[in-house]
Subunit: 285 residues, 4 copies
Amino acid sequence: MAILGENRYGKAEVRVVHVDRGRQPHAISDFNVSVSLAGDLRQTHLSGANDQVLPTDTQKNTVYAFAQRLGCVEPEVLALALARHFVEGRTSITRARVQVDSYGWTAIGPHSLVRSGGEIRTVTVVHDEQSGSWVLGGLRELTLLNTTDSEFWGFARDEYTTLADTTNRMLATSVEAQWRFRTADCDWAAAHQQARQALIGAFVDTYSYSLQQSLYAMGSRVLAEVPELCEVQLTLPNKHHFLVDLSPFGQPNDNEVYLAADRPYGLIEGQVLAEDAPPAGPAWS
Amino acid sequence: MAILGENRYGKAEVRVVHVDRGRQPHAISDFNVSVSLAGDLRQTHLSGANDQVLPTDTQKNTVYAFAQRLGCVEPEVLALALARHFVEGRTSITRARVQVDSYGWTAIGPHSLVRSGGEIRTVTVVHDEQSGSWVLGGLRELTLLNTTDSEFWGFARDEYTTLADTTNRMLATSVEAQWRFRTADCDWAAAHQQARQALIGAFVDTYSYSLQQSLYAMGSRVLAEVPELCEVQLTLPNKHHFLVDLSPFGQPNDNEVYLAADRPYGLIEGQVLAEDAPPAGPAWS
Amino acid sequence: MAILGENRYGKAEVRVVHVDRGRQPHAISDFNVSVSLAGDLRQTHLSGANDQVLPTDTQKNTVYAFAQRLGCVEPEVLALALARHFVEGRTSITRARVQVDSYGWTAIGPHSLVRSGGEIRTVTVVHDEQSGSWVLGGLRELTLLNTTDSEFWGFARDEYTTLADTTNRMLATSVEAQWRFRTADCDWAAAHQQARQALIGAFVDTYSYSLQQSLYAMGSRVLAEVPELCEVQLTLPNKHHFLVDLSPFGQPNDNEVYLAADRPYGLIEGQVLAEDAPPAGPAWS
Amino acid sequence: MAILGENRYGKAEVRVVHVDRGRQPHAISDFNVSVSLAGDLRQTHLSGANDQVLPTDTQKNTVYAFAQRLGCVEPEVLALALARHFVEGRTSITRARVQVDSYGWTAIGPHSLVRSGGEIRTVTVVHDEQSGSWVLGGLRELTLLNTTDSEFWGFARDEYTTLADTTNRMLATSVEAQWRFRTADCDWAAAHQQARQALIGAFVDTYSYSLQQSLYAMGSRVLAEVPELCEVQLTLPNKHHFLVDLSPFGQPNDNEVYLAADRPYGLIEGQVLAEDAPPAGPAWS
C-alpha cells in the first residue's frame, strides 16, 4: 500500500495589476502571485472527497480581492496578508506559501509608465500555523559584468584539465538572490533597495579570483548592510565570455572581442548566514 | 562576521550527442548534462584560493570523455559514472550531483532520425562519499488530457468562492515526475518505460474527482508496477480548459468548445511513498 | 504630413480546443488562431473614429462560434470559413488573413489523449475581396537528423576561412515549411500528410553535399508528390553538431561524440516552384 | 521539373561583445549579428557544388574580425561594413542582409556594467550590388502603459459583438518598430535616441480612441522629429488589462485592480510614410 507523503496545491501565476490614481504621477504595482496550501488534504488524494479543498479558483479570486482592499502595497504586505488569511481561515490548512514576482515600471508622464527592464523582484512568504510568518525577499535576472579585475588560476588539475590560467578575464553573471528576514514587519521597500545595492556594490568592488569569492562577498555585504536580514542564498551562473582567436586573420585581440556563450555555463550556488541567524524553520520549504 | 553555509558549483547544460554507428539503424543518445560538486570549498569563497576547485571547464571535458568511453548508454549509467568519478577522484569533493536530460529520437531510416517530441526523460544521480549513490529517474513535459470522467464538486467554500460544481470537465496536465530507485544497479531502460506507462495508465484509468486523486493514483501505480522504486514525486499543473459561453450568439455548447488557458493554473504537488521506503538520504538535495 | 501606408489589425492567438465526443475514441482539435483584417481603416488611425473597426474581441468570439458550428474540422476549413466571413460580412474589410497553428494529439484510451510532440502544423488562409481565397499549409519544429551521408567541401574560401573540408558530418535541422495550394478545396488532411512525408523522405534519401541541396530536394519532392501544391518555402537552420576533440585525453573520437551547439547556426532559406505555378497574389502577405 | 526560386543563406545569431578599455568608464557593445547572402547560388541547390558558397563559418569569423578592426562602433556601422564586404568581395553574391540586435548596458563603476533591461535596439542593413545600401533602425520590447486617457467606443458591431463601450481603459503595448533611413551616413546614435523618444512621447501625449490612433501618432512623430527617416513600420500588441469584477465579494473596483492577460491579444500593424519617401527598394526584403 502506498503512503501519501508531503503535498500541497494552489493557484500559480495570478497576474494582478493595481493602479494607484491617487498619486501623481499614477503608480502601478504589477505582480505575478502564486499560492500554495498544505495541511490535511488526505481525503482528496485518497478518495476524491473535496470538502477540505478550497478551490484554486477561489484562491485566485482572493488575490484580486485582497489587492483591491490593500491598495498599492509592497509585495511583502500582500503576500503576508494572503498567507495568513488562508491559514487562519481554514482549520484544514496549516501552512500557506505565497510567492510574488514584482515587475518594475518607471513613470514617464502623469499617467504613463515604461517597464524598467528584465530584473524581477521576488517575495516568498510562508505562514505556518505553529511557527508563524517567514519572509524571503530577493531578485532575479539582474545581469552584471566586470570587464576586468577578475582572475582565475591556481585551480586543481586532473587528466581532463585543459583550461589555462588567466589573470584577466571578463566576469558576468545573472544574479538570482533570496534573503531571509528576521522579522515580518519591516520597511520592505527600503530593505529591498539596500540589499540590491549591496549585491551590486560587492560585485563591482570585489577584485575576484573566483565567482565563488564574489558570491561570498555579495552575500556578506547584504547581511552587513541590511540588519533585518539573517541569510542570503545566491545562484550565480558564470556567463562565459571567451576571447576570440583572431590570429588566423593576422589580427590582434588584446582582451577586446569576445564570444558570449550560451551553454554550457558555470553555476555557482551558495548560502551566507549571519553568525546569529535563527533557524530557518519552514522558510525555504 | 558572515558564515559560509551550504554551497556547490559545477558546469550546467553540457550538450552531448553520442552516435552509435554499430547498430542498424544508427542510434543516438542526446543528453544535456549538468554537474554540481560540493565539499571543502571554503577557501575559494573566502580568499579566492582555488587549489580545491576543479574547473567547471574540466567538468565539461570529463562529460565528453566519459561519453566516448562509455558509448551509447542509458543516462543513468553516464550519470553514475560521472558522479562517482568526481567524488572518488578528489578528496575535497564529498558529494556530486549529475543531472541528465535525455531527448528522444525515432529512427526513420538506416542513419536518419526524427525528434520524438517535447517529452524529456530526466535522471539525477547524487553520489555521496559517505552514503554512496542515489538515483532518481523521471520525466517532464508529458502532456495528458481526459475529455471526460472528471468531476469537481463538494469542495470547501468561503466568501470568495464563485466556482460552480461540475460533474463533467476536461482534465489536462503536463506531467513532471521524479522517482527514487532503491538501487544503483537496474535495467534502467525497462524501469523508465514501466514507470512512464504506469503514470499514463493511471491517469487514463482514474475516474477523477480531483487532480490530487489522479496524482495519488499515478504515484501509487508507479510504485506497484516498478518494484525497484520506493518514492515518486509529482508536479501536475492543472491546464484549465474553460467551456466557452456561446449563448450570446444563440449557439449551444454541450462540452464541445473550450478555451485553453495559459495563466493562472492550478498546481498540484505530491509525494507517494512505498510503505517500506528507506530514508532518502541526500537523494533530493 | 505623414501618410498612412499598409495596415491591418486583428486578434492573435485565440486558443480553441474542440472535442468530438461522437467519435470513438474521442478526438480533439487543438488550435491557436490568429486573425488579421485589412481594408478601409484610415479613420481609426487618423481621428480615432472606430465605426469601421470590428473589435478584436468580436473576432475572438467569432473564432469560438465558428469552431462550434463547424465541429471538429481540418484547420484549413476553419480558416477559410473565418477569412471569408470577415471579408463578406463588412464592406470596409477587403482582405482577411487567418493563421492556425494545430497541435497534434494521439488517442491513448476511449477519452484520453497524449500530446504528440513539438511539431506544429500550420495553416494560413488569405481571403481577398478581389482575388478570392489563398491557402498555405505547412509545419514547423520538425527536427530531423542524418548521422552520415552528408559532406561539405569544395566551398569558396577567403582570408577569413578556417573551416576544413569534411566528407562525413552530421546533418540536423528543424524544418519550417510552408506550401501553397493551387486550390481552396482539397482533402486537407491527406495533402498535409503527403507533403510532410515528402519532406522527411527527401531529407532521409538525399546524399547531401550542402543543406541547400537537401532543401531543394525536399521542396521538389513535395511538389512532385502533392499535385495540389505549386510552391514550397523552406527555412532550415543548420543545427551544428561539432565533433569534440578528445585527443588531449588520449581518446579517439571517430565520428562518435558531438557537441550540439545552440548559437550561432547556419540558416538556409529557399523557395521551390512548380514550372506552371500561377502567381502567388496576396498569399504570402 | 521544379524551379528554384528566391533563396539566401547565412550565419544567424553570432554573439559578439566588444570591450572598449580606452574609455572611462569601460564601455561595451553587446551584439547578436545575423548575416544572410543571396546571389548566384543555383549550383549548391541543384548539384551540391559549393564553389560559390562562402561557408557560414567564414561569415561568423568575419563578424569577429570586423568587430575587432572597427572597434566599439554603432551597430549600423558594423552592419554596413559587413554587408558591403560580402557583396564587394564575391561576384556570386549580389545582396547581403546583416541584422544586429544590440543589448544596452549601463556603467556602474569604472569597469562594471549592468544590463539596462529588456528593450533591444535593432539594425538591418541590406546592401545590394545594384541599388547600394539600405538601413533600417528600430527597437523591440519597449513596454509602455497609459493608466488612462484611452477610450474605445463607437466601433462596428455584428452578431458576435459583446464588448461594451468604454471611456476609460488601460492601454499597454510592447513596441516593435523599424524605421527606414534616407541615407547610409548619419549620426546613428542620435537618430536612434530621437526616434525612440518620439515613439514614447507620442504614446504618452496621445489621448487615444484606438491603438491604431496611437500607432499613427507614434509613426508620424518619429518622421517629424527625425528628418533622416522616411518610413516607420510599427507592430503593437494590445496587452489587454481587464478590470476584475469584485462585485461577488461586495467590493468596488473603480479602475483599480486589473487582470493582465497573456493570450489572445489584439495586434495592430501599420506603416507611416513621409510624403516624399523614396521607394524602399530591397530595404525590407
